[in-house]
């Protein structure tokens, strides 16, 4: 730092997981902080989408917003016409402050469910009662790692360090993925599976493990429920059908089952991509059966890994400030309304009693990231007032009336909990906020203050508290747990362990209804799902839209929070990638400009042919604007995934069940 300006960014070499080595995105954050495109004062747009923004003061902006909310309240006797969208941001806990503010003014319409990982989370909950939380550093004790639908070379370079260390000692890495990823390129074996067919492969592997007596019968008898009915179900799985379904040869499938079954301590890393299908939850359920049948649970270096939230120990007290008393006789409206995320546009347009009239969007860029974004864009037209809190004029902000500028993590204090490793990070403020930018929690306090100024008693959210005070309040949890030393550790070192167990289910105690691993889940059955891990039909293309569109995350961004496109990056969002087979079928060559279309809409984009892209698949990376204001989610499907309700109230999104046609233009 020099003269209040940050000059460089470095990792903390003492950190047990990162060892101070930043990933590319970590290196790029200074560019976000000082980006010339960043907006540093509140603005009002005169005519949505016109780009005719005028600078306004914070006081003007807050007055406009609070008057809007209070006007709705007068007209409808409730704040339910206000749709509040608040997603993950950078997962710092104080990023949810605005949700806390809205909880404290009454009842609103929230986006229900999440876009990311919920189908897979539910699958783990049904099988184990909990998400797998083993410390990923323990993976070095495995001798064979199956990376199933994940790409840590892009998403977790620190994990790759462990994996490569393993590989150097002769241990094996096996990658199963429809796309030949940077991780696949470093693996010992790679299996290119057809998208959406992972469940069929897992079931076939389970069948072979049973057939060849590679299972741990004693473990199964002691710790699981429903094995015999699962075994019966597997009888109905025809291995020749699995070959056709997965695109893998019988030899490949046998090979995978043997590699898993005969390994001394195999482990599986499940990615998030394979649950973004309408059969995604069942896919993960099927994959969880492999460690269960072989008894590879609760042991060092074995088992299965996914995201988990165990490190997040904070109570987030700021979410629970009570709203003022509601008008009497309005008991029916005394709860929030949740609009299912996978078809948000439709839900907003269909909402009556009361309708949706206003939107407040923070930590989110729905017009870029939600599926079927054109429909949502249509729904925006019905809204009287749209507010976004962001750092840049995003696709969503372009369609907003009011823009509130927020801070980067350099400019505010926060607590961040990993959903992969067990560490919590303390985010100190490095510099004062640039321009007039304010942190989410400061915006929440200011909104509360303004609400109460206009209508006393209309908001229960604190008005005069600082970020530091909110954090102190969260940190009390360590005192309550009898581990106050962690507070010191967080503040002096910058990190501490969120929890101490290194191996999930070491005690073989499971928090399922039966206290066992549930191969057969009565609860799933009650929720309208198959009780057993069954394969649900993989969606197929139709004649008009013969290609499956896969839209994974780009290397250089988190969803649409794209960091400046790096210098000579091949895998960027400006291209649609196809394989040589598709190129022949559609007579396309690299550089051709095409229309990619389906019933949801169309985008225009340039083609690149990569020999690694499988037939019948087209790949476009999520994120930055492709052509004008349209992003790839113009095309993505509003189909829900099969699960998600148990953990997040609503089903997830089957992004990868999107089918498109391609046509050359010009």
């Amino acid at each position: 730092m020099k003269g209040g300006r940050l000059l460089s960014i470095k990792g903390d070499i003492t950190h047990p997981f990162t060892k101070g080595q930043l990933c590319a995105a970590g290196n790029a954050y200074l560019d976000v902080l000082y980006s010339p495109d960043r907006i540093l004062y509140p603005m009002r747009q005169l005519g949505r989408g016109t780009g005719n923004w005028e600078k306004i003061s914070w006081d003007q902006a807050l007055t406009l917003i609070c008057n809007g909310i209070l006007e709705l309240k007068r007209q409808y006797q409730t704040t339910l016409p206000l749709w509040v969208e608040n997603h993950s941001g950078n997962l710092g806990i104080l990023h949810h402050a605005l949700r806390g503010f809205f909880n404290s003014i009454g009842y609103v319409s929230y986006t229900g469910g999440q876009l990311c990982s919920s189908a897979g989370i539910d699958a783990f909950l049904y099988t184990f009662g909990e998400l797998p939380y083993s410390n990923p550093q323990g993976i070095v004790h495995s001798n064979r790692v199956f990376i199933w639908g994940g790409n840590p070379a892009w998403t977790s370079s620190h994990q790759m360090r462990n994996l490569l260390k393993m590989k150097l000692t002769g241990k094996k890495i096996i990658v199963i993925d429809p796309l030949y990823t940077a991780t696949a390129a470093l693996a010992d074996c790679y299996y290119q599976i057809k998208p959406g067919a992972d469940g069929a492969l897992a079931l076939a592997m389970a069948k072979i493990l049973i057939r060849d007596k590679l299972i741990d019968q004693e473990f199964i008898d002691k710790n699981t429920k429903g094995f015999s009915s699962f075994k019966n179900y597997l009888e109905t799985i025809d291995l020749a059908w699995v070959e056709n379904e997965t695109g893998l040869s019988g030899g490949d499938i046998d090979d995978l089952a043997m590699q898993y079954g005969k390994a001394k301590n195999p482990c599986i890393l499940t990615g998030l991509g394979l649950q973004r299908y309408s059969n995604g939850g069942q896919t993960i359920r099927a994959i969880t059966m492999l460690p269960v049948l072989t008894g590879n649970i609760g042991k060092e270096g074995r088992g299965i890994y996914y995201a988990h939230f165990k490190a997040d120990v904070f109570p987030k007290r700021f979410l629970f400030h009570k709203p003022p008393l509601q008008p009497e006789g309005d008991a029916g409206n005394n709860h929030h309304r949740y609009l299912p995320i996978h078809r948000l546009g439709k839900e907003i347009m269909a909402a009556t009693d009361p309708p949706i009239k206003m939107a407040f969007i923070s930590n989110s860029n729905p017009l870029s990231q939600h599926p079927n974004s054109e429909e949502l864009r249509e729904a925006f037209k019905r809204l009287d007032l749209v507010i976004t809190v962001d750092r840049f004029v995003t696709a969503t902000a372009k369609k907003a009336d009011i823009f509130l500028p927020t801070t980067t993590f350099f400019e505010h204090e926060d607590l961040s909990c990993s959903y992969w490793h067990p560490w919590i990070g303390y985010n100190q403020r490095a510099i004062e906020p640039l321009g007039e930018a304010k942190s989410d929690i400061e915006i929440a306090c200011l909104l509360s203050k303004k609400m109460n100024e206009i209508e006393p008693g209309s908001s229960g959210f604190p008005t005069g508290k600082t970020e530091g005070e909110f954090i102190e309040e969260e940190l009390k949890v360590f005192k309550e747990k009898g581990i106050p030393s962690k507070i010191d550790q967080l503040k002096t070192k910058g990190y501490c362990l969120g929890f101490n167990q290194d191996i999930a289910w070491k005690d073989l105690k499971f928090s399922t209804p039966s206290s066992k691993i549930e191969i057969f889940s009565q609860e799933a059955k009650q929720n309208g799902l198959p009780a057993l891990p069954k394969y649900l039909e993989n969606k197929k293309s139709v004649a008009a839209y013969p290609f499956r569109l896969l839209s994974p995350h780009p290397q250089m961004g988190i969803n649409s929070q794209s960091i400046k496109t790096p210098f000579y990056c091949q895998n960027d969002t400006r291209y649609a990638y196809i394989g040589p087979e598709t190129a022949v079928i559609c007579s396309l060559k690299t550089g051709d400009f095409v229309r990619v279309y389906n019933a949801n809409g169309e985008i225009k984009i340039r083609i690149q042919i990569l020999p690694t892209i499988p037939p019948e698949v087209i790949v476009c990376y999520q994120g930055k604007t492709l052509s004008g204001i349209k992003t790839i989610n113009v095309l993505t499907s509003s189909l829900p995934s099969d699960m998600g309700e148990k953990s997040s109230g609503h089903k997830g999104v089957a992004y990868h069940d999107t089918f498109v046609g391609i046509q050359r233009v010009g």
């Binding site: 370079s157 790759m160 150097l168 696949a184 390129a185």
Partner: protein, 190 residues
């Protein structure tokens, strides 16, 4: 004995994560980084070879940039490092056209060219260059080529032909032959 410094790249480790690009970019005030990721695909008898690795200036023994520059702004140090004096640079771009490795980078706002100096000032303080320091998997290293056993290293790999004319100071760590390349099985055979 004079040193001969250059980069060693471990192909079995490089993730293609671009951290080195960013570290280079963040620490040199230039429009672009001096080193960047290159990706290569090669069909070989129904198998597909895909390799990715990053490099910038290879500090050649017989650098084309030195020969090409009309301003004589390039020079070579005793330890092998090729340096560029930007105060002499006219921005003519002759070096960019001459370099077989795409090392010199034009800065459009300054109108001149610069390139990787192997972080020579850091080396003098016994520190690694920024790109080496940042690499999460230690896939790149600066070594003295006079001290390595050449038989453990290769002068070329997919996408990188050793140019005997310039003799670049870059070596690729040899991999166990079975794991040398990564394979997508022949799609035709399916």
């Amino acid at each position: 004995m004079e040193q001969r410094l250059g980069f060693v790249v471990d192909l079995a480790k490089c993730l293609g994560c671009r951290s080195c690009e960013w570290a280079c970019y963040n620490n040199h005030s230039w429009e672009t980084p001096f080193r960047y990721l290159r990706e290569f695909y090669q069909q070989d008898k129904g198998k597909l070879i895909y390799l990715k690795y990053s490099y910038g200036c290879n500090h050649c023994e017989e650098p084309e940039c030195i020969k090409a520059c009309p301003e004589k702004s390039y020079y070579k140090k005793q330890n092998g490092i090729v340096l560029h004096d930007i105060t002499k640079c006219s921005g003519c771009g002759d070096c960019i056209r001459a370099c077989p490795f795409g090392a010199p980078q034009y800065n459009s706002s300054l109108g001149i060219v610069d390139k990787c100096d192997l972080c020579v000032s850091r080396l003098e303080q016994d520190l690694d260059p920024y790109c080496v320091e940042i690499c999460p998997v230690n896939a790149i290293k600066v070594v003295d080529f006079k001290k390595i056993r050449e038989e453990n290293f290769s002068k070329e790999c997919v996408g990188f032909t050793s140019i005997e004319l310039t003799r670049p100071a870059i070596r690729f760590k040899k991999m166990d032959s079975q794991r040398q390349i990564l394979i997508i099985k022949d799609k035709e055979a399916r």
